[in-house]
């Protein structure tokens, strides 16, 4: 089953190159995404998750590295026709539902934009039917089609973004915090919907989020990022049961639980990057500690983790 849909090789995305305010937003990360899976991506705010997503979908030209989609390099030079094909196969749901919806377009036109570009509807009527269907899919209704984005609440706008992404029937969706603006019941609706679409259409997701219980629920595997690097990658349940990187451990210890009593007595462990005490020139890289469980570590740490893992 494990067919690779996307391969990311040593991807780097630096901003302000050659200037003093250089930011290594993504700094040499590699991972694969298998067809039909959901890969969750979590990590500290500002660690490069959105940038990773945006680079994969070619919103930025990568500083270095490559992204292969079905074996083809996404970042190589392409004809307009080829680009259009990629654009239809890969869609992104954006983190900021306000900035990403054109305020001068009606909801129907926003959702149908991709349908129009790719010529997916044969008549005006078919186009509108499709829009209504999509609105319903994301828990909005027909009456909303003729309205403008500013008339909607934050969560409602996010659902418009989801409907827009689904409109062109992509194979791969990068969902950048698609549900953090939604209330839990609609989160549940959207997540159930995403799972159902995955089952029905074999969709593949890169799911970026902060809500770790939701990420665990939806993801097959989870990658943890810290300062432009991937520090841990493992099957979802393994990551929660056996977090190995100290940053992952601190993340998991900070999940707020919906129980006032536990919250009153909660203890967090914080992460201090100095604990590693890496020597100069020590090679730190992703190493497979156990099958499918990768940790960014030095050879010395690797030995220790492997011993720990056995018992």
């Amino acid at each position: 089953m494990a067919e690779k849909l996307i391969e990311i090789r040593n991807l780097k995305q630096h901003f302000n190159v050659g200037r003093p305010n250089l930011v290594k937003a993504v700094d040499g990360i590699s991972f694969d995404i298998y067809r039909g899976e959901t890969l969750g991506l979590v990590g500290e705010s500002g660690c490069g998750k959105s940038t990773t997503g945006r680079s994969i979908i070619r919103l930025y030209d990568a500083t270095d590295g490559e992204v292969l989609f079905e074996g083809e390099n996404v970042h190589g030079t392409k004809s307009t026709k080829e680009l259009k094909k990629f654009n239809r196969k890969m869609q992104m749901i954006f983190q900021d539902p306000y900035a990403s919806l054109n305020p001068r377009m009606t909801v129907a036109d926003i959702i149908a934009e991709g349908i129009d570009i790719h010529g997916l509807a044969n008549s005006k009527q078919e186009r509108m039917e499709r829009v209504y269907e999509l609105l319903e899919t994301v828990g909005l209704n027909k009456e909303h089609a003729s309205r403008y984005p500013h008339e909607f609440s934050g969560g409602q706008r996010q659902r418009i973004g989801i409907a827009r992404a689904l409109a062109v029937e992509p194979e791969f969706i990068i969902a950048d915090e698609p549900i953090s603006a939604l209330d839990v019941s609609i989160q549940a609706q959207v997540v159930n919907l995403m799972k159902q679409l995955q089952r029905d259409k074999g969709l593949t997701y890169l799911f970026i989020a902060h809500d770790l219980s939701m990420v665990k629920y939806i993801s097959d595997r989870i990658g943890v990022m810290y300062y432009g690097k991937l520090v841990e990658l493992a099957p979802a349940d393994v990551l929660y049961k056996n977090p190995l990187h100290p940053y992952t451990q601190s993340l998991l210890s900070a999940i707020p639980l919906p129980d006032p009593e536990t919250e009153r007595t909660r203890r967090r462990t914080s992460y201090d990057p100095d604990v590693h005490e890496y020597a100069d020139g020590e090679e730190v890289q992703m190493r497979e500690v156990s099958k499918g469980h990768f940790v960014y570590c030095s050879e010395k740490e690797f030995q220790k983790l492997q011993k720990q893992y056995k018992n």
Partner: protein, 355 residues
């Protein structure tokens, strides 16, 4: 305890192409000095509009305060002019907005935006404002703040923008802080830092906080009291323990049942509340939640339920609390939470409307 804010029977509506959207339909609540009230509820239920109205920030027109009073320190905000509001905003009451991008100025450096508040409301000099801006960014967990103050919003990540907004809101040490989903774009470790920062500010300055969030884990962490909104109304309110350990409204049950828990292995579907939110241009007769409520009775489709009081601090607007209503069992996941709280009255008491 001293009340800092009293909202009384607030109604807010918007004139739109499709008709009048009744976004807030009779909301009343009090806020005490130094307390945190969390507002939770469905997307589109009027949380942002309610709180933006407290700062008179809704666009008027198309928006309009159709009814009600908002007493801030006993003084009604509703009739105040824009000029009078400017003195209150950012100084007495400040707000962290749900969408950082539309409330940060994209053409102004982050540092400058924080400094403006300090210079305007705290009468600081430019150099001390610069220093304080750096310190505030550091407090909200932004690394290398000396460099970051020179950057523009688009150079910040989503969560960093949100933190910049928090820094701006805290800059003036307000008496009332309204935080509209302030931590949704943040990872849990930074979220925890920000929540601690807010609590710290609160204990030092006796700030009152209205905290809007969808994350019930965050509610459990920060709230003293919780108000649950649905369809432009508050349908249940109580102390944090009352809402989490003895919820009474079926919508609150639905919310609590929708959450995945960390032990959920992803096999089972999440229990979403079925159906779609009410159309607020034409709010349904009776209980707005009735069409989606598996416990709905005939009367729910006919007559709007009154408030019932369950304890000194706990209220719910549902016919299920009427003495003639059949006894119903909440969903199993909710039942697991339920505890007997000592504060509960023997029987729910009907709250008479004061008109």
């Amino acid at each position: 305890m001293e009340k800092i804010l009293e909202v009384k029977d607030l109604e807010v509506s918007f004139q739109t192409y499709g008709g009048e959207v009744k976004a807030v339909r009779g909301v009343s609540f009090d806020l005490y000095k130094g307390e945190t009230l969390a507002i939770v509820g469905e997307s589109g239920s009027g949380k942002s509009v309610t709180t933006q109205t407290i700062m008179k920030l809704i666009p008027m027109p198309p928006g309009k305060i159709a009814n009600g009073q908002i007493l801030f320190n006993g003084d009604d905000i509703v009739p105040k002019t824009e000029k009078q509001m400017e003195k209150i905003r950012g100084k007495e009451i400040s707000m962290i907005f749900q969408d950082p991008m539309t409330s940060l100025n994209p053409t102004m450096r982050i540092g400058r935006q924080i400094m403006e508040v300090l210079i305007k409301h705290q009468n600081m000099s430019t150099s001390s404002a610069t220093e304080r801006a750096v310190e505030l960014l550091r407090l909200v967990g932004i690394p290398m703040p000396e460099k970051r103050i020179k950057q523009y919003p688009h150079e910040f990540s989503g969560g960093m923008r949100q933190r910049a907004m928090i820094a701006i809101a805290l800059a003036a040490s307000p008496k009332l802080l309204i935080a509209d989903e302030p931590t949704t774009a943040l990872d849990v470790t930074i979220q925890a830092q920000i929540l601690e920062l807010m609590k710290d500010l609160q204990s030092k300055m006796d700030t009152s906080i209205i905290f809007i969030t969808h994350d019930l884990g965050v509610v459990a962490n920060v709230a003293d009291r919780v108000a649950v909104m649905y369809g432009g109304q508050i349908v249940e309110t109580g102390t944090v323990d009352e809402i989490f350990y003895d919820p009474r409204h079926p919508y609150t049950w639905g919310l609590l049942a929708s959450m995945p828990s960390v032990d959920n292995d992803g096999g089972a579907e999440l229990t979403a509340i079925p159906g779609t939110p009410p159309d607020l241009t034409n709010p349904p007769k009776g209980d707005a939640f009735a069409p989606r409520n598996q416990y709905a009775m005939a009367i729910d489709f006919e007559e709007e339920p009154p408030m019932f009081q369950i304890s000194e601090t706990h209220f719910a607007k549902t016919w299920l609390l009427h003495p003639d209503a059949p006894k119903v069992e909440p969903p199993a996941v909710v039942q697991k939470r339920i505890r007997k709280l000592s504060s509960t009255f023997d029987k729910p008491v009907l709250v008479k409307e004061e008109k």
